[in-house]
Amino acid sequence: MDQKTDTATAEIDAYLKTQEQKNLLRFITCGSVDDGKSTFIGRLLWDSKLLFEDQLATLTAESKRVGTQNGEIDYALLLDGLQAEREQGITIDVAYRFFATDKRKFIVADTPGHEQYTRNMVTGASTADLAVILIDARKGVLIQTMRHSYLVNLLGIKKVVLAINKMDLVDYSEEVFEQIRSDYLKFAEQLNFEQITPIPVSALKGDNMIGASEAMAWYSGPSVLAHLEGVEIGAEDLSRPFRMPVQWVNRPNLDFRGFSGTIASGTIHVGDEIVEPASGRSSRISRIVTFDGDLEEAIAGQAVTLTLEDEIDISRGDILCATKDRPATADQFEAKIVWMSSDSMLPSRTYLLKLGTGTTAARVSNLKYTVNVNTMEQMASKKLELNEIGVCNLSLDKAISFDPYAENPGTGSFILIDRFTNATVAAGMIEFALRRAENIHWQSVDIHKEARAEQKRQKASVLWFTGLSGSGKSTIANLVEKKLHAMDKHTYLLDGDNVRHGLNKDLGFTDADRVENIRRVGETAKLMVDAGLITLVSFISPFRSERQMARGLLEDGEFLEVFVDTPLEICEARDIKGLYKKARAGEIKNFTGISSDYERPENAEIVIDGSRQSPEDSADQIVATLVERGVI
């Protein structure tokens, strides 16, 4: 149907054509409610006529009901979306606001200024082109101002508006403004900002928000809105080398094979040479396909489908790159990470790392130090807690391609995902590749695992016994080993207590040490398997992710998890070593089942009901399973 009829005035048509030429500026506002941040944003929304009458009516009614502003309009209510937060009077998350002028469309990330919410600010800043940092003119540059500036800088934002607010409360004093301005510029010397624009404002009265302020004739710079409308953005994406993470292989039929994705940086033309750096395979662009027709050229930010002259094997997660300017490819790199989960980051634990469109298993091999966001001091630490920022080495299970974040945020940023809760636990920014990885190769030998196991007439494997202290793991493992030995099988038993006397005697019982304990045992078991042995491991191993890590070290089918499922009451009643009594008395800290969690296996190959089965029956069941699986 034709919706563009002649009745429309040429004027509106022309207006709409100019509207279509607008671009988009994303910015983040940093500051607390005390700095007048909500009033600041509310003012921009109101003055750009983005508040509707019914919204205003709701706002007025809500202001009276909740009443933090003595019945006056409380702009904070407009900005705090969720009811629970509203009643607590705090913003706890990131909210996005929209407004537009004739020149630009704006998306504002509104994030709280409170200390424990670093994660929200980092989230908001990750997509921002510019940051507005609010300062209360009466208070000047505070610790929180430095914190906000540090985080904005960490995420690579180069342009900052320093909105020195509440100028009406300091008699619009030029001296006050100048003092804060020079304090801030001095502080910001240690950061990488390219443009800092200080503006004296009163969000409440509207001075220098939209138009010039009569009360501050001494200020000749732009108003906040004029600056936001005019500031130049985004040019750097285009000057960077071409990168496109492949999202989806587009195969409607046998004659068409395209690679769909969003161009992260640079430009691409038909005929340009590209490479998939991990494999080194290269080709030329034959078509740039879109729904609206083929293009000759495509630029950063566009979502396109590329076809190539040669048939090369490319799949989701690969990054198509300019041949002449390739990214790094490595399985280890150094990165800054911001921890976003209340479960702390433990070195050696395996997480999923998503960079671009590819997901890889990764672990933090070395936490070098954490950074205090208030003082920027570096501190040694063994783990990373919620809202902490750390510099660390990550080790991946395969090599991937990436750029340093400072050179190319689109291919230098990643998130870490917990493999069990699936939560996004961290945001990361790559510093550089670690070359070390390329120089350590697994020593290949002529006599291999299968040969060694064959000689012993068995299949090398691991029986991993997990369960609470006192569940009967070691008793059963011991019986199984006796039975196997009697059958002329070659075995070795790694017992938790025994290993802790030697190999792991430097480790305690904190979460971090438990993870390392299991990592070492897992690696030892792997060597035993390589020697062709049936390896029995008897460890409480309370965390799913560590058992998963141990499983991941071995080949499919080699790892058999044996869950000795004995209820806590029974284990505690047995209390063979008297440990439960001590734990209850508080003499042992971090005792599994009492003061530390035991995460039950979900898919154990063998489950023993420790409350019903005798150790003898249990051992028989396990041996029978080994026969069934062809291990013996």
Binding site: A8, E20, I92, A95, A100, N250, P252, A303
Partner: protein, 302 residues
């Protein structure tokens, strides 16, 4: 990060396409919720762009409350046929059995049973693990904080206090069996963007958006269109013919019309630019109490 050489609509378009492709690549059984309105029209247009030259690799799902405007259903069937789409229609059989409707059961119960419950039924029945919706953050306060990939537990509940942080354009699409996400490719679009894009791309929309003479009655300050003979008229109430249009489309008894003569897209956009009320104002569902949308969302309403 923005690129200065893309216009804002082209940038929004590209970001939406990116979201469509991420979901299609990472989920086993995605579905697109199709409500026939203007946002759905844009959503569908973007989905066609995202996978071109392949067809859209997932079905559309319309949760039919049986009280939609007749013109909407007609439009839906035409579009599905013209574009060769796979459409699933779900109606809550329990609700039909009990004769649930907005006039007999009130708007809240009707919406709960025929929309929220029906949606959950359909998602469970087909075991969809991702459902695209056309919600926008500018629509309503509780939406402003919602993620693009909005996680739902096995009971389809949304936990606003425990959302996954979303950084850059990297989306976490990991869910366990039974869990799902709602994906919102239009999160960063405003109502004005939607109209401008419909105009720029010449996207077909339901004629109800354009002003025409229609039979309406006035109730509690809202103009309700008499779309079929299921609408009981109060004493002394006679439908009047008025030039009206709709800014938003839902169940006809719950959707208020506005008096207007805007019969073309430029006229609608012009009217919008001088408008002083938001589009949801025409929806009964939001008026019950402040935060009502947030409550509904926690319970699984889109």
């Amino acid at each position: 990060m923005s690129t200065s050489r893309l216009t804002h609509l082209r940038q929004l378009e590209a970001e939406s396409i990116h979201i469509f492709r991420e979901v299609a690549a990472e989920f086993e059984r995605p579905v697109m919720l199709y409500s026939i309105g203007k946002d759905s029209a844009v959503l569908l247009h973007l989905a066609r762009k995202a996978f071109f030259p392949s067809p859209i690799p997932f079905p559309l799902l319309h949760v039919d409350t049986t009280w939609k405007f007749r013109e909407m259903i007609h439009f839906r069937d035409t579009i599905v046929k013209d574009y060769g789409l796979e459409l699933l229609v779900h109606i809550n059989p329990e609700g039909v059995k009990q004769g649930v409707g907005p006039f007999t059961h009130g708007s809240a119960l009707h919406t709960d049973i025929m929309k929220t419950e029906a949606l959950k039924q359909a998602l469970d029945q087909y075991k969809f693990d991702a459902a695209f919706g056309g919600a926008r953050r500018d629509e309503e306060a509780s939406r402003a904080k919602e993620r693009v990939f909005s996680f739902r537990n096995e009971a389809h509940r949304w936990d606003p206090k425990n959302q996954r942080p979303e950084l850059w354009n990297i989306y976490n699409g990991r869910v366990r069996k039974g869990e799902s996400i709602r994906a919102f490719p239009l999160s960063n679009w405003t109502e004005l963007d939607i109209w401008q894009y419909i105009y720029m791309e010449d996207i077909p929309i339901v004629p109800l958006y354009f002003a025409a003479e229609r039979p309406v009655v006035e109730r509690e300050g809202m103009l309700i269109m008499v779309d079929d003979d299921r609408m009981p008229l109060n004493e002394g109430e006679t439908p009047m013919m008025k030039s009206v249009r709709f800014r938003t489309l839902g169940c006809y008894p719950l959707t208020g019309a506005i008096e207007s003569t805007a019969a073309t897209l430029p006229e609608i956009i012009q009217e919008m630019l001088v408008a002083r009320t938001s589009e949801r104002q025409g929806r009964q569902i939001d008026k019950d109490q402040a935060g009502s949308m947030e409550k509904k969302k926690q319970e699984g309403y889109f």
